[in-house]
Chain length 691, copies 2
Amino acid sequence: MLPRGRPRALGAATLLLLLLLLLVGFFLFGRDPEYGLRAAATLDADLYGSRNRSAADLQPLLPPKCELLHVAIVCAGYNSSREVVTLVKSLLFYRKNPIHLHLVTDAVARNILETLFRTWMVPAVVIRFYDAEELKPLISWIPNKHYSGLYGLMKLVLPSILPLSLAQVIVLDTDVTFSSDIAELWALFAQFSDKQVVGLVENQSEWYLGNLWRNHRPWPAVGRGFNTGVILLWLDRLRQTDWELLWKLIAKRELLTLTATSLADQDVFNAVIKEHPELVHPLPCVWNVQLSDHTLAERCYLGAADLKVIHWNSPKKLRVKNKHAEFFRTLHLTFLGYDGKLLRRELLGCPSQLPPGAEQLQQALAQLDEDEPCFEFRQQQLSVYRVHIAFLPHQPPPPRPHDVTLVAQLSMDRLQMLEALCRHWPGPMSLALYLTDAEAQQFLHFVETSPVLSARKDVAYHIVYREGLLYPVNQLRNVALAQALTPYVFLSDIDFLPAYSLYDYLRASIEQLELGSQRKAALVVPAFETLHYRFSFPSSKAELLALLDAGSLFTFRYHEWPQGHAPTDYARWREAKAPYHVQWAADYEPYVVVPRDCPRYDPRFVGFGWNKVAHIIELDAQEYELLVLPEAYSIHLPHAPSLDISRFRSSPTYRDCLQTLKEEFHQDLSRRYGAAALKYLTALQQSQSGA
Amino acid sequence: MLPRGRPRALGAATLLLLLLLLLVGFFLFGRDPEYGLRAAATLDADLYGSRNRSAADLQPLLPPKCELLHVAIVCAGYNSSREVVTLVKSLLFYRKNPIHLHLVTDAVARNILETLFRTWMVPAVVIRFYDAEELKPLISWIPNKHYSGLYGLMKLVLPSILPLSLAQVIVLDTDVTFSSDIAELWALFAQFSDKQVVGLVENQSEWYLGNLWRNHRPWPAVGRGFNTGVILLWLDRLRQTDWELLWKLIAKRELLTLTATSLADQDVFNAVIKEHPELVHPLPCVWNVQLSDHTLAERCYLGAADLKVIHWNSPKKLRVKNKHAEFFRTLHLTFLGYDGKLLRRELLGCPSQLPPGAEQLQQALAQLDEDEPCFEFRQQQLSVYRVHIAFLPHQPPPPRPHDVTLVAQLSMDRLQMLEALCRHWPGPMSLALYLTDAEAQQFLHFVETSPVLSARKDVAYHIVYREGLLYPVNQLRNVALAQALTPYVFLSDIDFLPAYSLYDYLRASIEQLELGSQRKAALVVPAFETLHYRFSFPSSKAELLALLDAGSLFTFRYHEWPQGHAPTDYARWREAKAPYHVQWAADYEPYVVVPRDCPRYDPRFVGFGWNKVAHIIELDAQEYELLVLPEAYSIHLPHAPSLDISRFRSSPTYRDCLQTLKEEFHQDLSRRYGAAALKYLTALQQSQSGA
């Protein structure tokens, strides 16, 4: 900050310092006149001109405020895709510059991260993907024993695949966490001598000293070598020095005597540096505090005024034993649980760089009237939810013409249903979970500690991150539906347990009924409910009917909302031996099996009420036959009414808004289906309002 | 950072810069040899010595790493006590120095914040309280129209009440949020000239220009005046300049012509500065970015490289209209929802400064065996939960000899019970809520938007912040119990709705039965359950019995766990006209009314199972009579089994651990009650294991 008051030794000294800063400023940022001017501005006393900028003047090495910084990350598979999100959160939390992420991904990571970043909508972040498959030939000839597999090695070929226009890039492993502004790291490029091409932090483990065990023969390195979890790559210099040729030669030669790389790219980087030490610019250790075992990191961080980047470079990750592990865990957990939507903030004072769609969204939101009674609903309908598909590893089902995926959505308070559901449905599932970032971590732990769940590889979990107060039930269903990979889907709810035989029975029925693109049908799975937490699930239709007669089972919502399922005609179902047609009627909301390309749920219905009813109307309007299956059933287990149902029951506004939504829905129907949609409107007018 | 490589214009300049920094370093921190040495160390090339410190060298004005920084905050009432937590979180998140908080509080805030900080257990944070009551006489003579009431004015008298040993202090309003390290703010003291005693940021609103409306007559100020949301007070200089006399004189004089202060202390500070401009050291505007209306803050933050402190100085707070409001909201929400337990981290490289109890806790945790099957339970039992009592404003009940408080605990998935509970229980309640920091904010919104809940001032909500995976049911009950303020408590569960008449009936019964300290009795409230979400609650015992006979009501857990309530003897209750005695039996867990000083729940029972059973045993062991009330009843509403019940049912380890807990509990019983406790052990051995 600028000194004020009368000149004193101190004042004089800092004034001198200031002048020098200007000098340096011009050296460093001659190319950026605006910056030079800014420094100059610090001379006049204008409160808003100088003083608030003097903070920047104290760090003359930082890149200009709005300069774009480039970061490259290699990311493959489900787990790394989860890991990288935490890295990116920490990076974005402290950043003040626009960021360009260059992501080298396999198909899995790309699919996940494309969806994630598209829905995340963070301003001043540019994403570009590079296909890891294309890189494999370039490095697959190098034998490698590291847990990162081939992908670690890909860091070696970045200079040849990143755009030629790109002069400098920061390369990061997915297992690092920032606790400072990446611009400070970028600033270190300015300190490279003209020979230096790569910036690295010394390795903090004993590995390259080769004394870890008898006959431990690491790759060659200078001293304890360098760690490649955080790399400053001066790309255009590397291209000039023919880097590609250089590292290949050295790697090939080492491989004559060494069987394989143990630490992937890191071994090669160190071998090259051993031979050409002039190429490396050593970075301060705080920029890569390595928490692997046998680490000397403590020597670094205890002395440090400030930690910049933490590197969980041990297969044990967060469980690594370290005297201060708890301290570092808190840094990491901070961003594991950090609400990613809070990073959707523009950079003040930089030209606006909104992601695709953000501008229209802002305008739409701006047009809403905060005092309108249904404002909350309108706002929720417009929300763009951050979506992390395939949050956990899973195997897509093999293509089978009649296969069915169970589609459902849930939030934290229904996790306990998952194990039972897995027991009842042996087939593929696509489940959308509405969670906070912190809850997503609890969910992860829940699955990992459940033998039943972790054994299932055909269940895909898609996280939709919470936003707003109304439950976006239909957006959730649409996410799960869009991710189903079989030709047919069973649109169920999380509180239902299907008959043990249902999965097989459905596939058989689809085959027999010759459902295909030519025949548009929705197969109805009759719904029942028990009012007891514990009950023995009927193993056959006969058993079910017996329980029904005994009064320990009911048709679903028989007491509260009979019209929701009456059209299924339970009396007929009792006797039925073959599938039978039923007609649509007002408020009908059966659970159905339909082709994957069926209409989506109407996202306008948020919170409680009418969300399924509208979907069935849509099916009927598109002339799907409604066929009830004689041997199919599914049973609802008891639970407390949701917060939304309670609000619906207690708040008249809530009911009025739902009514408005219904009317708007019907207007759209008539617009799209014309006279054919009239019957729905009439039905609505006849039936009482209220869901 | 230090320049490396061969000298170039740039290198030379920065080297020169470094030398100058050293020079300045010695001027500033001559008093601190360690710092001088550190600066010197940057000359040698030791990787761990210098480079990681160079970051600090770039900001030579920062106080030494482990220096204690002092902060004073005036805080009164329930809402400010909530607000100040967010401020403190943001402060601690970025701080790297030990912090001493000087809190001027009323009785309410002190009670809340003492509990909070004791249970928060943040290392390197010292708390000291000052009684606002004692300060009132010093400033109550000043008429004041500001929303902060008298408390704002208390900032004026801090120099006279803070310890004489305290030379400098940063004074903060409760409605500011840090987005940087407070040490940078502290560093600005070094820039005061020797006349300057108070550091302030210019006021960013038009207020003091007096042009906001016709006849707008603000207090005198230089230009647009200064804002007192963030103050650097040079205390010993203020004491020397007889500050107390000075501001009083000027305030008194102004009050001859002005009716009252509109902005409390801020008016007085500005009036003093108007007369003695030499006393103020203007601070960079980024240290108090004011988001009130008519603000010029934008001129500040758009130019700024970096924001330091945001000030929500408008009664509208987060709802203030501002082009960039969304940006600032995210900064604020970051800490509203931030998990406070992540701030329980020591300062690396500073002498350990653990809060009371933390060391024993660490040792206890260190002694646990991570591979022991019940490790998770042991860990959970040791957890110290952050507790924020009286999270919302409430009025303690007037002292009445036979009054009863309903005591219960819940988590987010039971919020929807609260409204019904309020309708059924018109008396005082003490409820513990197990929530994350983010959920606590949702809960706040839920209450504020519920007419039923916001109308009730006799319900105290106590937040216990989530930690670990097992539900600490008994710790929660103990928190709610400890905060009950009536002589009697009704120990209930959140899923139960009491008879509408129960509150009055209980108070009458307590009076008739002459329960007092001389008579140790537990009044049993018979428990029933319905299996329907919606049912009409019986308005009398007769109605209840009718529903029971009709099979639409059951005695509680009749199907799953009859022994839990069998000893209540429902058959006898049917006929009973007067209270009757019952005997304890194995697994008995009735809902009871007891004196507030009853035994606490055993905190070892975490998760599901046996938590109430153990408490009833404790009552029996202490020879409480068990009296069933003939007209009392309460009814359980259906809900899905909790995650813990599910885990209990699915995991054998879970059951085994519960069994172990039971055995340890009985060992303690025999230790405390000797032979008298034998009957419980025998009972346990007879009854099947499993809750």
